[in-house]
Amino acid sequence: MNVPHVALRDVSKIFTRKPDFAERLAIRLGLPKPPVLRAVDGVSLEVNHGEALGLVGESGCGKSTLGRIVAGVHGKSGGEFRFEGKEEAGWTAEDARRARLDIQMIFQDPMSSLNPRKRIADIIGEAPVVHGMVARADRETAVAELMQEVGLDPGYARRFPHQFSGGQRQRIGIARALAVQPKFLVCDEAVAALDVSIQAQVLNLFMDLRERRGLTYLFISHDLGVIEHLTDRVAIMYLGRIVEVGPTPEIFRKPAHPYTQALLDEAPRVGRGRRVYVPLKGELPSPLAPPPGCRFHTRCPHVMPVCKTTAPDLKPVAPGRIAACHLNDTTEQEE
């Protein structure tokens, strides 16, 4: 059987704020505790070896938090995290080290994720030396090779991050992630801040790297065009929960959740010409007080009474596809 590269089961992340003095007093006097933020709420997801999985959603839906849990930046509040079949709780020190090195992260804004006071050679070369992957004496060659691989001139190794353009900085971030020979990259809006022509160059780089190194990707983005182009499967998130997962081409052809449908309808795409928008009403409800039942019911054009009380489960709608919508229980007979 195929063991997924990374498997999440029922993973949650809760952010709480420490109550201040007055609030502690109020709680002691019997007032309710302040609400907690469930950024990720019971998410199960598998990423297979060599696969590119897209994670899509609006700001505040928890997609970045989920990506950070996978990359080990945030701890999870509940649920299981398996790396190559091994659950996090049962990791040995060596397992943990391998998992952390194998999964690397690339951030949206390379300027705030690169130390402005370090030279490129140090930014890229530090981690592999610390982890004993590269001898200190070979550092220079290793850095030069990495820079070449991501399309940077190795002659710039002594420069600082501010001396590079946005696209080049993103390449530095990629080289830094690749330096510890990861097998799994979490890309959090990695091309969102780049101009279209530079974005295309970096996307091509991601595709080349995947081919060359056999990488697994978790690609987080709000840009559906990027997701469609780069990923094999896609997961759609709404308010901390996954509402639909399936092969990218199929989801783009015929989404099984009204939210996915709305996202696809509203993403402007070149070639559609001038058209009149019929936008989705309302905004993302506050994750501090998510609506009961299906979390999307406040904005859904097909809302039914059952949606307001019962949260739909993720059910198979086609081979390899799951979606969480009550409509899927009924529409089959109709169509």
Binding site: E58, S59, S165, G166, G167, D195, V196, S197, I198, Q199, A200, Q201, L203, N204, M207, H222, D223, L224, G225, V226, E228, H229, L230, T248, P249, A262, L263, D265, E266, A267, P268, R269, V270, G271, R272, G273, R274, R275, V276, Y277, V278, P279, L280, K281, E283, L284
Partner: protein
């Protein structure tokens, strides 16, 4: 009838220590009432400086060095500060990418809107407030009578942008300059804002310059598209023409860079290299070093050529016309 806005040979340069930055270097376009122009370009192409020049918002070391901007026949280049102040907000309004550039965080929406009305018109506070509420309702803010009492931080990003648009609409301006107004927003909110803007343009006959890097957004809203590169308009024409049948290799390259236009998984036809520094522009076509079709003659300044009705390209050898349908 003369055009609402007529920009001729506009050059805005910044005299910096490193040298003369020719941010906008000779652009021409006209805009009629009710027309929407999409001004497209990548970072540093000069699209924002162009729209700031129209509003007279260029601060030293920047300066409009040449050209003319005629608004309703009136010359704006060199117009007195007091006159520009009269026009700004009343006749020409601006919507910025970040609504917090328009809104001050320390005053209620009500105060800010009423102040804006009273700055240009002698009406009672009551009348001003009523107008503010009706405009807020028009841009789709629910229960505007209550929400007008809120502070900007009490709104979400999308709602804040609606407030900024409402402020731009207070005086029913003849021209709105929108600088990346939906870039910072989520797709569903972006869809809402575009829908509102489309409705407003159709209802009020306001002309609009929509500045954006996103060709897809521009295509949905603009009548004509002007593509900027290194301070110049390299292609300009009806939006269906420019996007469906680009004549300039740069426009073609931009379109090919958009992932959704290529078969998924295929390499994108990227434009090699980077935009040139506007400090050291090559004497000929600034795009030539990155152009797939460049020939030696591109080292001389490229001529403006017309490839269709109202469709120009600043290129020595515009892309061969595909069979037009």
């Amino acid at each position: 009838m003369s055009a609402l806005l007529e920009v001729r040979g506009l050059k805005t340069h910044f005299d910096t220590r490193a040298g003369m930055v020719k941010a906008v270097d000779g652009i021409d376009f006209t805009l009629d009432a009710g027309e929407v122009l999409g001004l497209v370009g990548e970072s540093g192409s000069g699209k924002t400086v162009a729209s700031f020049s129209i509003l007279g918002l260029i601060d030293p070391p920047g300066r409009v060095v040449e050209g003319s901007i005629r608004f309703k026949g009136e010359e704006l280049v060199g117009a007195p500060v007091a006159r520009m102040r009269q026009l700004r907000g009343r006749e020409i309004a601006m919507v910025f990418q970040d609504p917090m550039m328009t809104l001050t965080p320390v005053l209620r929406i009500e105060t800010q809107m009423v102040e804006t009305i009273l700055a240009h018109e002698k009406v009672s506070k009551k009348a001003a407030r009523d107008r503010a509420i009706s405009v807020l309702a028009r841009v789709g803010i629910p229960s505007p009578e209550d929400r007008i009492r809120a502070y900007p931080h009490q709104f979400s990003g999308g709602m804040r942008q609606r407030v900024a648009i409402a402020i731009a609409l207070l005086h029913s301006p003849a021209l709105i300059l929108a600088d990346e107004p939906t870039t910072a927003l989520d797709v569903t909110i972006q869809g809402q804002i575009i829908a509102e803007m489309q409705k407003l343009v159709a209802e009020t006959g306001t002309a609009m310059v929509w500045v954006s890097h996103d060709l897809a957004v521009v295509e949905t809203i603009a009548d004509t598209v002007a593509v900027m590169y290194a301070g110049r308009i390299v292609e300009h024409g009806p939006s269906a023409e420019v996007i469906g049948n680009p004549a300039h290799p740069y426009t073609e390259g931009l379109l090919n860079s958009i992932p959704s236009r290529t078969t998924p998984g295929q390499r994108l036809n990227q434009i090699p290299g980077m935009a040139p520094s506007v400090l050291h522009l090559p004497p000929g076509c600034p795009f030539a070093p990155r152009c797939r079709h460049a020939i030696p003659a591109c080292a001389t300044p490229p001529p403006v050529q017309y490839v269709g009705a109202g469709h120009m390209a600043r290129c020595l050898a515009p892309l061969s016309r595909e069979v037009a349908s």
